[in-house]
Symmetry: C3
Subunit: 479 residues, 3 copies
C-alpha cells in the first residue's frame, strides 16, 4: 500500500473534457504562460529575498509554515507537535525527518484538495521528483529536496528568476521597520520585491496593544498622536515610509466590511475615546469603519491601491492558539454582507475612477448577489480574485460563473497567490491560468464569446488586470 508509485502530474490537468474545448483551452493556456508572474499580494518572508540565504530543509519550507497543510493533518488527529511545529516556547519535539515522515504517511488525506495539486506540481516541476509522496518515498523526498535546497539554484532570488516572477509584494504591519525591505531597496530591488502597508495594528481599537501601537506610531513619525489630525498625519507619514521602499498598496483585515464616513468632529471625539480605552464595542467598530474610509481618502491622495480582506474569525480554536500561536489553520470564515456595509465608503470615494479599491470575500454567496453588482457599478471598485479557501479549481470556477455575467471581466483584479509558501507560487498562478483558459474555452464553444475575444481576454486576465489594479501598468517590470 505504500510502495513507490509514479508521480504523474497531467500536462492537461484542469482542462475541459470536451475535445474542442480542450484544444482551445490548451492554446489559451499556452498564451497565458507567456506572461511573467505578478504577485501583488502575499505573505512571503522578506528576509529570504534580502539575505538570499539557502533554505534550511523540506519541512520548514513546505510543511510547518503552511496552514493549509497543518489544518488538514490536524483535523485527522495528527498532533502539530508530531509535524515539528514549534510551540509558543519555541520548542520542537521531533526531528525534521521524523516530522516529514509523518506528513508523508498522511499525504493521502489531501486527495482532491488544491494543496495536493500545488504540492505535486512543486515536487515534479521544481524538484524533478517522479515518484508519489507516501510513507515509502518519504526519506527519498526529504533527502532529495534538502540536497536541492543546498544548491545556489534554489536560493530565493534564483527561484524568483526561475519562476519568472516579475513583481512580488510581502505584507508588513504599520509599525514594522522594514529592515529587509530597506536592504532590498539599497540593493536596487524594490521595484521587483516590495512590501504592503497593513495597518490593522493602528486602525483597529480591538487590535492587541492598540493604544501603545499608536504611541509607537507617533514616535516613529514624529507626530503628536494626542489629537486626531496628528494621528492622520502619522498614518500619512507611515504610508509614505512604506512607499519609500516601493509599496504600492495597503491591506486591511477587519472582521466585517463595515465602513462609515463621520464628520471630522465626530471622528476626532471617537478617536479620543478609543485612544483612552473608554469606547464601547460599538464605538470601536464605528472607529474601525470610519478609518477604512480615511484610508480610502489617503489612497486617493497617494495612489496606493486599497485591499479589503474581511470576514475571517481568527483563532477560532483557543487551545491551539495558546499552544502554537496564530496562523496554524484555525481561522474560520463567517457570513458577511457588503451592500449596506460599503455604502458610506463608496459614497465618499467610489465614484473616483483613479482610485483602486479591491474587495475580497470568504463568503461566496456575495459574488452574484452583492459584489458583482457593486463592482459592476462603482468606478473605484474591483472584485479581488477567489481568496484562501476558494483559491481552488472549483472556487475559481464558481467565481467566474458567479461574477462575470454582472461584473464582466474588466471589473476584476487578476490573480493573487496570497501565500507564505514561496514554492507554491508558480503552481498557484498556473492553476489560475488553467482555470481561466478552461472557462474562456468553454464559453467560446458555447457561443458566448468569440475566439478572438478569448485570446484577448486571456492576456487581460493574466496580465492587464493585475497591472491596472495595482497601478503597475506604466512601470517596467523585471526580469
Amino acid at each position: 500500500m505504500t510502495a513507490m508509485t509514479p508521480l504523474a502530474v497531467s500536462r492537461q490537468r484542469l482542462f475541459p473534457l470536451d475535445p474542442g474545448a480542450r484544444e482551445l483551452c490548451a492554446a489559451l493556456y499556452e498564451r497565458a504562460c507567456n506572461h511573467p508572474i505578478i504577485s501583488p499580494h502575499g505573505h512571503t518572508d522578506p528576509s529570504w529575498f534580502a539575505t538570499d540565504a539557502c533554505f534550511d530543509d523540506a519541512l520548514s519550507l513546505l510543511v510547518t509554515p503552511d496552514h493549509y497543510v497543518l489544518r488538514m493533518l490536524y483535523s485527522q488527529g495528527v498532533a502539530l507537535e508530531d509535524l515539528g511545529v514549534p510551540n509558543q516556547a519555541g520548542e520542537v519535539l521531533v526531528e525534521p525527518r521524523e516530522a516529514w515522515r509523518c506528513f508523508a504517511s498522511h499525504y493521502h488525506l489531501f486527495a482532491g484538495t488544491p494543496s495536493r495539486l500545488w504540492l505535486d506540481a512543486t515536487f515534479e516541476e521544481v524538484f524533478g521528483l517522479n515518484v508519489a509522496l507516501n510513507a515509502a518515498s518519504a526519506d527519498h523526498y526529504f533527502d532529495h529536496i534538502n540536497a536541492c535546497l543546498a544548491e545556489d539554484a534554489f536560493r530565493p532570488r534564483a527561484l524568483l528568476d526561475r519562476f519568472n516572477v516579475a513583481f512580488i509584494a510581502t505584507t508588513e504591519h504599520a509599525l514594522d521597520d522594514l529592515e529587509h525591505h530597506q536592504m532590498l531597496a539599497a540593493q536596487g530591488l524594490s521595484h521587483r520585491i516590495t512590501t504592503t502597508f497593513r495597518p490593522d495594528d493602528v486602525l483597529d481599537p480591538d487590535f492587541p496593544g492598540f493604544s501603545n501601537n499608536i504611541a509607537t506610531l507617533g514616535e516613529k513619525t514624529g507626530n503628536d498622536i494626542g489629537h486626531f489630525q496628528g494621528y492622520l498625519q502619522a498614518l500619512r507619514d507611515r504610508r509614505s515610509y512604506f512607499r519609500s521602499v516601493g509599496a504600492i498598496a495597503t491591506d486591511h483585515g477587519p472582521i466585517d466590511p463595515m465602513t462609515a464616513d463621520l464628520d471630522p468632529g465626530a471622528a476626532a471625539k471617537l478617536y479620543q475615546r478609543c485612544l483612552t480605552e473608554q469606547a464601547s464595542a460599538q464605538e470601536r467598530c464605528l472607529f474601525r469603519a470610519h478609518m477604512l474610509t480615511e484610508m480610502a481618502r489617503m489612497s486617493l491622495e497617494d495612489g496606493m491601491t486599497l485591499q479589503i480582506h474581511p470576514g475571517s474569525h481568527r483563532n477560532h480554536n483557543q487551545r491551539l492558539l495558546q499552544r502554537f500561536g496564530r496562523d496554524k489553520g484555525a481561522d474560520i470564515p463567517t457570513r458577511v454582507s457588503y451592500t449596506d456595509a460599503l455604502a458610506p465608503l463608496l459614497n465618499a470615494v467610489g465614484n473616483e475612477p483613479s482610485l483602486e479599491l479591491i474587495v475580497f470575500t470568504l463568503d461566496e454567496s456575495n459574488y452574484s448577489r452583492e459584489l458583482a453588482p457593486l463592482a459592476g457599478h462603482y468606478p473605484a471598485l474591483r472584485l479581488g480574485p477567489p481568496w484562501w479557501f476558494h483559491d481552488s479549481p472549483e472556487g475559481m470556477l464558481r467565481y467566474r460563473r458567479g461574477v462575470t455575467e454582472t461584473a464582466g471581466f474588466y471589473n476584476t483584479a487578476g490573480f493573487n497567490d496570497d501565500t507564505r509558501a514561496l514554492l507554491s507560487i508558480p503552481a498557484r498562478h498556473d492553476m489560475a491560468r488553467r482555470i481561466d483558459a478552461r472557462f474562456l474555452a468553454e464559453w467560446v464553444m458555447e457561443g458566448r464569446l468569440s475566439e478572438d475575444d478569448a485570446f484577448e481576454l486571456i492576456d487581460v486576465l493574466t496580465s492587464k488586470l493585475v497591472r491596472d489594479a495595482y497601478h503597475l501598468d506604466q512601470r517596467p517590470l523585471a526580469p
Copy 2:
C-alpha cells in the same frame, strides 16, 4: 484593433457541447420556438404602443434607457454625460452620434455578459447587421439602425407582431391615470397590451410623499381615506380601475419580504399613525408588511396575480441619484430571507389553490434553502424566474439546478423579461428557451428525465406555466 470584423451570432449558442445532448437540445429549442412570446411583467413605455410612433434613434432606444448598459460603462470610468444621458435638469451634453461612438468604443467591456448576447442578437436578427460593433463600425451602426427605425416595419406595434408577442404588460404606479392604456383599451388592444398595478407609492409609508399619495388616492376613487376601511376600499377601487384596462397582476417592490397579518383593529390604528407621520421606523415596516397580506386577500377576491420583487437597495450611489435620477444602474441587491418573513402571509392565504402568488429573489442562496421548499409546499405560491442580475445563462442554470429537485417544474412561473428595452424582448425569451432546452436535454441524457417528459416539459416551461401563473390560460391570445 478596431477594424471591421464579422458579427457571428452562433445558431447553437448556449447549447451543451456533448453531441447527443446538443442534438436533443436543438430539437427541444425548435419546439419552444413554436410558442408566441408572453411577457407578463416588464417596464416598456405604454406610450410607444398607444401612439405607435417611430422611435427616435439608436441611442435613445438601445443605450440611454438600459441600466445594464449604463452601469457597466460607468463602472469602467465612462461618464454618463458622455453617453448622452440627460441630467436631472434634462440637459444632454453630447450629440447622439458622439455618445453612440463612446458606447461602441467600449463595447468590449460587455464580453461575457448577457447584455452582449442580447445586443448582438438584436443587431443581427432585428437589424440585419453583420459586422461586430466597435469603434470602426460605430457610424455604420448608427446610420443603419436610425434608417431602419424610420420605417413603418420598425414602429412599436409592428415590432410586437414581428417578435410574435401575444401579450405584454407594462407597470404603472397606483396613482397613474393610465392615459396610454386607456387609449389602447379604446382601440381594443388591452387584451394584448396592458398594465400592472404597482402600489408601493400608497402602501409603503417610507415611499416619498406617502401621505399626499393617499390623499390623492382618496380623491381619485372618491373614498374617505381618513379611516382604514376607506383606504382599503380605495385600493380595491384602484385595482378595479387597472383591471378595466386589462391588468391581470399587481407588483410589489419592498426592501425585504417581511409580511404581517394584524387583527383589523391593530391595523387600523397603525394606519392612522402612518398617515399622520407619527409611526416609528419599525411601525412603518410593520404596516408595509401587513399591507402585503391585505393585497393577497384582495387578489383572492379579484383574481389578480400578486408578484413580490424584494431585496433591492435602491439608489445606492447618492451622487449619481442627485445628478441623473433613478434607474441608472445603481440599485444593489441585499441579503434577504423568506421562511419566517412570508409565514404570516402564507398562513393567511397560502393554502388557497386559486391564488397566484409569485415570489422573486435577488439572493440566490434562497433558491434551494427557502424558496423551493416553500413553493414546493404552499398551493398559492410559485417561484418567479431568475430576476435582473440573474436573468443570464449561468443565472438560469443555477436556478434550474437549485430549484427543480425540490419544487419540480410546476411550481415555477415561466419566464419574465422584466425589461424596459423593447428590442431585447425576443433575445431575452430566446435565451431562456435555449437554457431550458439545454437543461432538459442534459437531464434526459443523464437518465433523469425521459425524452417524452422533456418534450412535454419544454411546452410547459415556455407556455403553460406563464399562462397558469397569470390566469391567461383561458384567454385567447393575439396575434
Copy 3:
C-alpha cells in the same frame, strides 16, 4: 395521454456524458456496489422489524408516510384527504385504491425530483414493474404491489436481506420505552437493527411538555431531577438504556446550531429557571445551547456519536398542522450560521480525536464558507452528508464540489438515507454511489485525482467513512 408507456430506468443514470468519464464511472460504481448498505441514521418504524409482519398496501407504504411526496402533491392543489392521509382524529376519507389513483394521475409533477428517481427505481427493481406510473397504470400498480407485499419475500426483514442492509438505526425520543428494540435485542438482532437517542424532548425548554418530560425522565431512571446533577445523571442513565439495545449515536434537532459552555453553577441555576418555567426566551435558548455541549461531553465518556441537524422551521403551515399533524411536508429550512455558534462546543471538546461529532445543514451556503473549514480543522468534527432537500443528484454534486477542496474526503461522514420510506433505502444509497462515482471519475479525467486514488476513495466514501463516523469499524456487520 395516459396510455401505458414503458418504465425505462437507465442502468447508467446519473453517469457523466463524456465517454471516458462514463466508462470510469461505471467501473467505480460497480466497485461501490460490492459494499453492503449501512444506514446509521433514519426514521423507519422499529415495529416493522420487531414483528416482521407483512405491510398493508402500496398506499400506506409508499405514499402517506412520505412527506416528500405529500408536499409536492399538496403544492399543486391536491388535498391531503384525497391521498388517504388520516386527519388528527384518525379519519380517512377515501378508499386506498382511490387515493392511489389520485397519486398516479399526478405523478408527472415529480419530473426532475429525486422522489421520481427513487420511486421509479423502487417500482422496477423491487417490484419488477415495467410500465410507467400514470392514470392508466394506476390499478395495475396498486394490485401488483399489494400482491407482492402479501408474500414472505416482502416482509421487512426479508427486504433488509434483499437490500443487503448490514446495519440500520431508527430514531426514538429520550422517553421512549423502546419496546420494539427490546424485542429485537431479545432476538439477538440489535447489532443489526438499533435505535438512536433523540433527546430534544428533555433538552429543549421550548419542547412541548418539557417540565413534565423531565419529571418522567426522573421516574424512568430513578434520579432526583430536582437538581442539575441529578438531571445530568438521568440523561447518562437514559443514554445507557439506549445503548443496552445497541444504540451508537445521539441526534439533536435544534432550530439553530447555537452552543454554549456555561460554568456548572450558572448551568445549574439556568436549569432551575427552565424547569420552573421562569426562563425567558433567551435563557431557554442558552440552556438548549449549553446542553448540546453537555451531550458532547457525555459522548466523550460513552463513545456515542453526536449528530446535529439544525435549521428547520418545523410546522410552517399552521392550518395543515392542526388538521393533519406533523411531518406532512411543511417544514421549511432557514438560514443558519455555524462559525460563531459552534465555537463554545468546539472549544470545549473539538480537539478530541476520539469524539465523533457530525454536523448537518439545510443551508448550503455554509458548505464552503463555514462547514468545510470547520471540519477541515477540528479533529472531532465531521460534515454529514447532504440532508433532506439536498439529498439529490444536484445537492450531492454541490456538496462534493463545495466541500472537498477544503475538507478533503476524510472529514465527511459517508451517506445517510435519513428516511422513513423503507423501500427507498436501496434507491437512495444507489443514487449516492452513482454521484460519488461520477464525481471521482470526472476529477480523474481532469487530472485532479489519480485513477488509483479514485478506486481507493470509492471504498472510503461507500464504507470506511460511515464505519469510522459511527464507530462501526471494529464491529462485525450482518449479514
